[in-house]
């Protein structure tokens, strides 16, 4: 199961080969693992955080986790399923810790601005004009605020289907749930997301109406 990994990543080795090299302590194995799974880990982490830099921090933690806990990998699930689980757990931990850091983050607003604009630039190589960039940044903030307000399991299922294009079966395997539970989680996640975004939509339209000069 590595639809997400295989869809955009050039596959250098198959999972058993990577595992064999890792377990044998082959120095080239670390590079193969990172090259092969970095896009997948970054994509998954990005769904949980507001900027690319945070996703990169999580990716580093994920690979260190993988390499230091390799002896715990039982091979009952595929390597990519195991990596997805570690990435989701690391991302949720990161969110919990960043909530604790939130007061500190408010003080470094300038730094955050730098990170956000960098994130927009990276994901937007077409170099949009400042107004378009600002609009995209606002939409990203709105979307992530809505996603982060979802209950934990809904958030995980939504991110795995949206950011990783995983099937319900794959998500069920990662989350240790039945396919019907995943369906139900996603159904509720979409409804909840719609409710949150409706509030944002109403706020933005009333703001636009309020700022428009009366003719």
């Amino acid at each position: 199961m590595s639809k997400g990994a295989n869809s955009t990543t050039p596959v250098l080795m198959n999972e058993p080969e990577v595992l064999k090299l890792l377990l044998a302590g082959d120095p080239a194995a670390v590079r193969s693992l990172v090259d092969q799974y970095q896009p997948m880990v970054l994509r998954t982490a990005r769904g949980f955080v507001r900027n690319t830099e945070d996703a990169r921090d999580i990716a580093q933690e994920v690979f260190i986790d993988i390499l230091t806990n390799l002896h715990r990998f039982k091979g009952q699930a595929s390597l990519s399923t195991w990596i997805y689980r570690i990435t989701v757990n690391r991302s949720l931990n990161y969110l919990r810790n960043s909530k604790r850091r939130q007061s500190r983050l408010f003080y470094s607003e300038d730094q955050n601005e730098g990170r956000r604009s960098e994130a927009v630039n990276i994901s937007d190589p077409d170099q949009k004009n400042p107004a378009e960039l600002l609009e995209q940044q606002e939409r990203s903030e709105t979307l992530h605020t809505a996603i982060l307000s979802l209950p934990g399991k809904q958030q995980v299922a939504f991110n795995l289907v949206e950011y990783d294009d995983l099937s319900y079966k794959e998500i069920a395997e990662i989350m240790h749930l039945t396919i019907s539970s995943v369906e139900s989680l996603l159904f509720r996640a979409r409804k909840n997301l719609q409710k949150k975004l409706w509030v944002c939509y109403k706020a933005s339209t009333s703001r636009e109406n309020g700022t428009k000069p009366k003719s």
């Binding site: 990172v34 090259d35 994509r43 996703a55 990716a59 690979f63 260190i64 994901s123 995209q136 979307l143």
Partner: protein, 143 residues
Amino acid sequence: MNCKNCRTDLVGFIRGTLPKGLEVQIREHLNGCEECRSFADYLRTTLNVIHQEKVIPADPFLATRIEGILSKSGAASRRLSFLPKLIPALTFSIFILAGIAGGIGLGHALMQANENQNIASQQMSFLVDDLKQEPIESFLMGL
């Protein structure tokens, strides 16, 4: 279909996950309702952010950084790895030293006790001798 019901399933409609019948009903409602259509456009544009965000260029230095971190932590654990082996030897040495120190201390204490005993006995004999030399009767008689 009313506006509230339409809005409830709009994310599913945009993502194409709804049953065919419901999808047709929503499409028909959107054709005739400007506000729901405007909200659907807002949702579509907002959800499109995901497509842009999930394209993240890989960090070419990540593997090197991870190798560095792991080798540092490996070196640190190797630096401390002699400690478990050293603990039994250290414990044994401490017991031996404690035994020697205890023996010396005990010897000193015994010698000290002997000396004290000698002084005490000398003092006692002195007193006895004094009594011998100056009997009470003669002392009283002298008054």
